[in-house]
Amino acid sequence: MSLTLETASAAPVTAALPEAAPISSSSLFSRLRNPLLAVIFPGAMVIVWHLATYGQKYSLIPPPSDVALALWDLAFGGINDDAYSKTLHIHLLASLSRVYGGFAIALSVALPLGLLIGRIALIRRVLDPTLQVLRPIPVTAWLPLAMIMFGLGPRSAFFLVCLGAFYPILINTIFGVRTVDQRLFEAASMLGCQGTAQFFRVVLPASLPAIFTGLRLGLGFAWVVIVVGEMTGVQTGLGAIIMEARQLSRTEIVICGMVVIGVAGFISDRIVVVLGKRLLRWSPSFA
């Protein structure tokens, strides 16, 4: 088109373009600064822990060095050569499968349900009160019923993990759908996108940031409840060895389990955040 408005292309560029990398970020110090700051506090905690426990004859809490050795043995063996040696991968995989399996089940139910509750007033009136009453019930309280309904073993574990992840996904999805800017519906309908077509073209994309927050919280909760989930008589899993080691007074194994859950939960959250930043780079709150 030759009649292009030249004024526009000559306009001063006032747009806030995607943020450029900070200028001095190439220097090693500034790149390592944040990780360094992040390890100061845990480092100090370990030192306090060490001073309080090391060399004490009757300390019930093992010093950090014992825990480190136990963790090495749990992962690679060669130190204690007992029932726990070189079994970490088995337990980690078992827990990972329950966390992600339970999370996937929760997602497949909570997401569509949240979209429906958020969008359709009748469904909201029917289901929302019940859900609000069920929501405060702790996952721990469900343990006995879960074991009756699903029996001893992994099925109960999946159920409990799923329950932990369910509400954050559901609540955030409902919130996302309910808070879509009314203006966007008007914009869509005056452009010729009306009725159910708005669901996929407006409601779903507009609620994605909130849904994503729900996923992140849900996955976090799945890790939080993994120990309860594995109190259901399963033989493997990080939660299972924590409960078993506790009965055997192997506190260093208990702490190993805690450390591994923490690290695994952290890594799985980082993965979700990175994915979210890619998928939601249009959103000012994620980009």
Binding site: A11, S189, A206, P284
Partner: protein
């Protein structure tokens, strides 16, 4: 383009009432308006005069309590692509790029992908946003967002563009630039524009006709034809005369309401 006596848009005795906390509000009383194809009509008035309500009835977002709103002699029953709306707060889809925002209408209406692509390129060029075609709305300035919003309704084959204080949130320089651009697009495409503003100068600069509205209850009060030649000079004597006349009219309405 159809010409002659046949108006593209006609309002006949349109009234709108709604309830607000148990109180009956008369937002618009007995509004009559005929807009010819290709005309640029401005609605001006203080807040509460019903100018936005009138526009939203034409857009199909609200229904009239009494009276009729007709487009090409057919009653308006809901929003439609032939009546494109440009909002003051843009109403762009934040998850779509500039390109996809402009293509939203055509692709939602099932146009073939190749056709959508060509249309989008044409209108991106028209509003001069080629360099920002793949940017997201949050990366754009207000003026650029409003260019996207205008391109979006034009790309969707709107016959009449409804603009609700579209430049009200922009700084003075950007506003003037966009006014010029809008006039150029309007003259080139022979669009029909219904433009709500509270700026007297903007109304005189843009409009073929200015409908002055007054509040309590909201109604169309007077009509001012603007017979100044285009492009208009905002510091010319006749421009100023009209500005004074309109200003007096608006302030007397205001004073009467306050009394």
């Amino acid at each position: 383009m159809r010409e002659g006596a046949n108006p593209i848009l006609a309002l006949r005795g349109v009234s709108k009432q709604f309830e607000l906390q148990g109180e009956r509000i008369e937002a618009l009383r007995d509004a009559n308006l005929r807009v010819r194809p290709g005309e640029f009509v401005c609605l001006i008035g203080a807040s509460g005069c019903g100018k936005s309500t009138l526009l939203r009835i034409v857009a199909g977002f609200e229904t009239a309590t009494r009276g009729q709103a007709l487009m090409w002699d057919r009653p308006i029953t809901g929003p439609g692509p032939e009546r494109g709306m440009v909002f003051q707060d843009y109403g762009l889809f934040p998850w779509l790029t500039v390109r996809a925002n402009i293509g939203f209408g055509p692709s939602a209406r099932g146009r073939p992908a190749q056709e959508v692509k060509e249309t989008v390129e044409r209108f991106i060029t028209m509003v001069g946003l080629q360099r920002f075609a793949d940017a997201y709305p949050h990366q754009l300035s207000g003026g650029m967002k409003q260019r996207v919003a205008i391109a979006r309704v034009l790309a969707n084959e709107a016959e009449i563009v409804l603009m609700d204080e579209p430049f009200g949130a922009l700084d003075a320089m950007t506003r003037e630039r966009l006014q010029d651009e809008l006039l150029e697009i309007w003259q080139r495409t022979r669009l029909t524009v219904l433009f709500v503003t509270h700026s007297i100068e903007e109304a005189i600069f843009l409009g073929d006709r200015i409908m002055v509205m007054s509040p309590g209850p909201g109604r169309i009060d007077t009509e001012f034809p603007v017979d100044l030649p285009r492009p208009r000079d905002v510091v010319a004597a006749d421009f100023n005369d009209l500005r004074r006349e309109l200003s007096l009219k608006l302030h007397s309405d205001h004073a009467r309401k306050a009394a």
